[in-house]
């Protein structure tokens, strides 16, 4: 008997739907955290809510956004894009569906544990020990499923770059995750500075070996499909892939620059952080090269708008990042809101925007229904873009004000600076309202698509135009 869990696309759909639920909940907690920084006594003496202190709400927000929303969406992306990129069916939809259920139960358990005050005390690794095991098992299960999918493909030809990025992420992430989460032991075996170094090896490499490759792989998948043009240079994209995986490993210690960490560890991190610009420029070059002659499509296609914005923010992230890893710049920006802005431009401005585009692209194909409302898509894009830009500029300026003020007085005026931040935190809360509003519009549109969208008219494959199958050409401009 064929269960719903076995149907084609079941795993991708489940992961996407779970991701959207966490998007709303996670952003809601983010707005609560931002509001608590404006009105710290907001929920004081309110029954039940009084336990939702900032110290608990903030890790709930980060965990739900990283592991609830973004990682679930990424798993959905893998289940949708990788089989199609290699010309095969998913090896086991049932395993994928069961992984989706188990993984998201673990995310829910993590949320409850963090709200109850159980926190392992390390950035992005706050979850309790059983949740760490279930998360690691989920990564392994998805990895096995995807590798078996690729192994069973009929076409033995060269892999497309997106497949490389996805497979590379699945190889490295379980290792990075295990190392960063107490080596999956019940207690943390490391102490002191060693613990900090390993924590930030994990903290940055979960970004560099999980969020970046799957996000970039999704961009390389979406751009040709949305524009009808092959990517500008596959060779350049492969150079970007290999350079990304080679360069990203040592950069984690740039979070500890000017700290009590061995000098050479910091210097290696700084040098490799600057070299990260190479893989980024390959992506940006491919983006602009592919878009040549296709800019008119941006007017009509909301997914392409999200991909364009994400590509811009990806460049900004990876210009700002190497810059702030320099000791002299870090001396101003470290521990300020500049860093918070930087984290959001990567995870929200870049990779969340890519996931919005992915879901808009994949959903009609997974459900057999057209997107319910184009107007709601435009609202979603507008609210997300302007809400995010407001937050980013606000926090960057706030960070510079903090850093400058501390430098001038040797941090003696710390409390004065805290008070100076009030207008910036109010602005951040307002931007959070725009952002959350945009995501609620998005979720409503997806819900209506799944339940009341018009059936999709079957599309036709693009014509091969003047190209002979398998011919190598430098550029193609039909």
């Amino acid at each position: 008997m064929r269960l719903a869990l076995d149907r084609e696309g079941a795993a991708a759909r489940l992961f996407f739907y779970f991701a959207l639920a966490w998007l709303a909940v996670g952003m809601g907690f983010g707005l609560l955290a931002a509001t608590l920084m404006v009105v710290p006594d907001l929920i004081r003496d309110v029954p039940v809510l009084e336990y939702f202190t900032f110290g608990r709400v903030r890790p709930v927000h980060t965990n739900l956004m990283l592991f609830g929303w973004l990682t679930s969406a990424y798993f959905g992306t893998l289940f949708y894009m990788l089989p199609r990129a290699v010309g095969a069916k998913v090896w086991s939809e049932r395993l994928g569906s069961l992984t989706a259920i188990a993984y998201n139960l673990a995310v829910a358990g993590n949320m409850v544990a963090l709200l109850a005050g159980a926190n392992a005390g390390r950035e992005y690794a706050e979850s309790p020990w059983p949740v760490k095991w279930i998360t690691a098992a989920a990564f392994v299960a998805v990895g096995v499923n995807m590798f078996m999918t690729v192994k069973n493909r009929e076409d033995d030809g060269e892999l497309y770059v997106s497949a490389w990025y996805f497979l590379g992420a699945l190889v490295t992430t379980p290792v990075v995750y295990a190392i960063g989460n107490q080596f999956l032991l019940p207690t943390n075996p490391l102490r002191g500075v060693n613990d900090a170094i390993v924590n930030w090896f994990y903290g940055h490499n979960i970004l560099g070996y999980w969020f970046t490759p799957v996000g970039v792989g999704a961009v390389y998948y979406l751009l040709p499909k949305l524009t009808g043009a092959p990517i500008y240079s596959h060779r350049l994209s492969m150079i970007g892939f290999w350079s990304l995986f080679w360069v990203y490993g040592p950069v984690g210690a740039h979070h500890l620059v000017n700290g009590p960490v061995p000098w050479w560890v910091q210097t290696v991190a700084i040098a490799f952080s600057v070299m990260l610009i190479i893989p980024v420029w390959t992506v940006v070059t491919n983006f602009y090269g592919t878009m040549q002659g296709r800019w008119h499509l941006v007017r009509e296609s909301v997914p392409l708008k999200f991909v364009t914005a994400a590509s811009v923010f990806y460049f900004v992230t990876c210009f700002q990042g190497p810059m702030q890893s320099l000791r002299s710049v870090s001396a101003i920006t470290h521990f300020t809101n500049w860093v918070v802005a930087h984290a959001h431009i990567a995870l929200l401005g870049t990779f969340s925007f890519v996931m919005f585009a992915t879901i808009y692209y994949a959903l009609p194909r997974l459900t057999g229904r057209e997107i319910y409302s184009t107007r709601l898509m435009e609202w979603h894009f507008g609210l997300s873009l302007w809400g995010f830009l407001l937050m980013f500029v606000d926090l960057t300026v706030a960070g510079l004000v903090q850093g400058t003020s501390w430098v001038m007085t040797g941090s003696e005026n710390f409390m004065e600076v805290v008070a100076k931040m009030a207008p910036y935190y109010i602005t951040r809360s307002l931007s959070g309202v725009l952002l959350l509003g945009g995501q609620l519009v998005f979720i409503w549109n997806v819900y209506r698509t799944a339940t009341a969208g018009r059936p999709v008219v079957a599309g036709t494959k693009p014509e091969p135009a003047q190209l002979a199958a398998g011919a190598e050409l430098q550029t193609v401009r039909p």
């Binding site: 600057v274 390959t282 001396a331």
Partner: protein, 209 residues
């Protein structure tokens, strides 16, 4: 016959030119005093490693674009000829930066922990060698399996295979739409200038005085 005799000379002269560029880049970098540094709150340790890395990146990336024939139409031929040399020059600048750094005394060495510093250097060298060998082994295996020819055929097969693309992709170009490219370019340039300008202002107006 003539072609066979020309090939070894061409390779030989290229190698000489490449070696010459590396030496030039090294000499240029080596003459830069370690005083190319930024003073900051912790005591004046230099950021010159970052500057060398940034210089290397610009040269390496320009070299890549040139060697792959991806430059704009007018300079494509020039890029193909200069590309490999820019790549080599970029690597030379990177090596120079590493050499300059190795000459600069680290806090561990200054405090008498020179032996410890050498052990640490061996550790990072060993890790780099192991990781590079692993990457090279994976790449070699992939080449032999025909999975990674670095060719362009994969991008055409991808476009034709899998799910059909967005039907809107077939829409004809409308007049003036290409000017939309200036919006993302402007945003990128604007943010880059903002970051550099803001940090520079803080340094020269606040930190230095």
């Amino acid at each position: 016959m003539r072609r066979a005799r020309q090939a070894p000379e061409a390779i030989g002269s290229r190698l000489w030119r490449g070696a010459g560029l590396v030496a030039l880049a090294w000499a240029g970098g080596a003459t830069l005093p370690p005083a190319v540094r930024a003073n900051h709150l912790s005591g004046g340790e230099p950021d010159f490693v970052g500057y060398y890395a940034a210089g290397a990146i610009v040269l390496v990336f320009a070299g890549l674009i040139g060697a792959l024939g991806l430059g704009p139409g007018r300079v494509r031929l020039l890029g193909r000829r200069l590309g490999p040399f820019l790549l080599v020059a970029g690597l030379g600048v990177l090596l120079t930066g590493a050499w300059q750094y190795a000459r600069y005394p680290s806090p561990e060495a200054l405090l008498g922990g020179g032996a410890w510093g050498r052990v640490a250097a061996w550790q990072i060298a060993g890790t780099t060698v192991v990781f590079s060998l692993f990457s090279a082994a994976v790449m070699l295996w992939a080449f032999r399996q025909g999975l990674m020819g670095f060719g362009e055929a994969a991008k055409y097969r991808f476009l034709q295979a899998g799910d059909p693309g967005d039907p809107r992709a077939a829409a004809p170009a409308t007049g003036g739409a290409e000017h939309l490219v200036w919006i993302p370019l402007g945003v990128m340039a604007g943010f880059a200038l903002f970051f550099v300008g803001a940090v520079a202002y803080v340094w020269f107006a606040v930190v230095r005085p």
